[in-house]
Amino acid sequence: MHTAKSSLKHIAIGSLGVALLTFVSFQMGMDLASAIPLYLCLVVLLSLIGDFGSSLFVAALSAGCLDFFFTRPLFSLYINNPRSVLALVAFALTSLVITKLVSQVRKEGISARMQKDRLDRLYHLAEGLLHLDAEAAAGRTFLDPFQRLFFVTAICIFDAEAGVPRIIGDAEPGLADKTRDAYIRGAGMDEAESGISVRCTRFGARLKGAIGFQGLKDPAETATALAALTTTFLERTNAFRQASAAAAAEQAEVYRSAVLDALAHEFKTPLATILAAAGGLREAGPLDAAQVEMAETVESEAARLGSLTSRLLRTARLEKEDIKPRMELTDVGLLVSRIARQYGERSPDRRIIADRDDCIETLADAELLRLAVSQLVENACKYSELGSTVSLKIERQGDFVAIQVSNDGSSIPPNERRQVFERFYRGARARQSTSGSGLGLYVARKIALAHGGSLELETRGGAECNVVFSLKLPSTKTEVHHDIHHVVGGRVAAK
């Protein structure tokens, strides 16, 4: 609209100019040769302010006036002199070329100005985003620079890994769907009527997600750049978050090691003293039955504290070091049922059931395996309601012996499932309800891996599914005879 109006204005100004020039030149009695340069000047001047269309009109009008008022026969468009025809054609061509060139230069100037303006805004946006801290990335502050500089009213960020679109600002209903659709199609889109533009984001060649903008002006030129900037910013805040988490974990590790060392050296001597004193009390006697019982309680509880300390220390050490299992033929069934019995005695509020086939033997480091399975049972007890059942199941699964530990009625939210095996990770609910080091599952898994097996979290049932930890060990089918080494000439030779 705007351009049509200004073209009309230019045509009006041009026509007025031509009329004025024609009147003055005619009054002065000029001939064609003197009039042509004047008209040419006018056409050039007008093309400087007008667009190509209006300039072309002015040039045509000028040619008409030159023919009508200055070419014989006067007051007619008929030309009888071929030289005049030539002069007029030359005039028309010259003005056409000039008009074309000038308007092209003008257009490029305008586009360069716009380009510069866009770049300026992008620069300011980048600057604005750089000043945002990681916390703001999730909030409305993130939208502010987009709104201020590009009139964006809402942004939708769809990360394929998270699977859920995140919307910042007041979005129209269609924004999230359109963003996800664009990701699925693998191509961006611009929609004029809804004002929504979507661009896919990539990490290298891999499609990573999509970003949708609502209300973005000239999306063709800016949407891609904005999407790239947004992605970079999000990656940066992510990296920052991970880096600070890593730094915190490192710090925590230093601290934990110090605490554990203190446990090793500072706790054990007092515990040994208590045990020696309680034992001595009993030996020194004579004590009555109740006194003997109390002395024995002191002794057994102090011993329990001692072995808890030892286990914590061992876990901490296994966490730090490479695990080298010392394989021996182990009756896994027996080991597991012993653990079940042990925990059954210790937690009378829960039912602990061990279910196994006959004797299942395999090569394993019994010490380490006991530590890993105990950890799973302890967790199953810790994170279940009073009165619930913890079951241990052992079965052969192909080339593996699987030990499955599950409890009824506890679940792990899907977003925490991947993290439970991470070092020092403790679920949101775990942190609220019980104590723990956040090392147990990490170490249990490390033990399973060191055996050439695995430890995985499986879920069963619907939404309120049971949590099943499945520890698999490679099963040794061959008779032990086969890996015995033969004695050759008094020396041992490996097969």
Partner: protein, 253 residues
């Protein structure tokens, strides 16, 4: 108070030197060991222990591994020089490998890990005492432990009435273990004693042989009664007839 069993047996109470820098632990151990029938003296450091040992003879030394001044390991080595007849039990703190192996290599007869129950300690002290006293020159040709009977000269082994066939190396290994019943035997010590001085790192050989032996002599090889695994250290042969033999599965919490 002196334990009645010792009085009945008409034996002199055994003398123990407790070497520990922790005063309260030393006092508690002293009182408790006296109540259990031992004669006790104390030393606050390795230096003091060496000094005392140069002047008095002791049957047993209970030696803490972590002490200021000369370390428990150094002290152990020097005590072996001064007082070869004394049984040495080292008190370790760390549960895993190193300290225990180092203690045994330095000449300790056994170790016990802090914290320990008094009964465990007295059983271990008595077992060490018996072993050090039995170091008799007369080699017995028949070894017995529980249902096992071994004729060393004729190289025969019976479990109850049943004769068990062992390969020559299996026999040597079992004989060595039975002769050292009750004592912790490091992997290296076993390998060198049976296979030769150039061995030491070939744990897999040893494990294979122990697996085989267990299959042959144990009722349930997965729950051994005779050849017990000392985690990270080696093995210990248990004689079920010995009242001070270690409790069977060294069950961890």
């Amino acid at each position: 108070m002196i334990s009645t069993t010792l009085l009945e047996a008409g034996l002199q109470p055994s003398s123990v030197l407790i070497v520990d820098d922790e005063t309260t632990l030393r006092k508690a151990l002293r009182t408790s060991l006296i109540a259990s029938g031992f004669e006790v003296q104390e030393a606050r450091s390795g230096e003091e222990a060496l000094d005392t040992l140069q002047r008095h003879l002791f049957d047993l030394v209970l030696l803490d591994i972590n002490m200021p001044g000369i370390s428990g390991i150094d002290a152990c080595r020097r005590i072996r020089g001064i007082s070869p007849q004394a049984g040495i039990v080292m008190v370790t703190v760390r549960d895993l490998e190193d300290d225990k192996v180092r203690a045994l290599e330095a000449g300790a007869d056994d170790y016990i890990t802090k914290p320990f129950k008094l009964r465990e300690l007295t059983a271990r002290l008595r077992a060490v005492l018996r072993r050090t006293r039995i170091q008799s020159p007369a080699e017995t040709s028949v070894l017995e432990a529980g249902a096992l009977r071994m004729d060393v000269e004729r190289r025969l082994l019976w479990r109850g009435d049943q004769e068990i066939h062992l390969s020559p190396k299996e026999f040597e290994l079992l004989a060595f273990m039975m002769k050292n019943a009750g004592a912790p035997l490091t992997h290296v010590k076993l390998l060198r004693s049976i296979w030769g001085i150039e061995y030491g790192g070939e744990l897999e050989y040893l494990r294979s042989y122990v697996r085989m032996l267990r299959k042959k002599i144990e009722d349930n090889p997965a729950q051994p009664q005779y050849i017990l695994t000392e985690p990270w250290v080696g093995y210990r042969f248990r004689n079920p007839s010995d009242p001070d033999s270690p409790s069977v599965p060294a069950e961890d919490e």
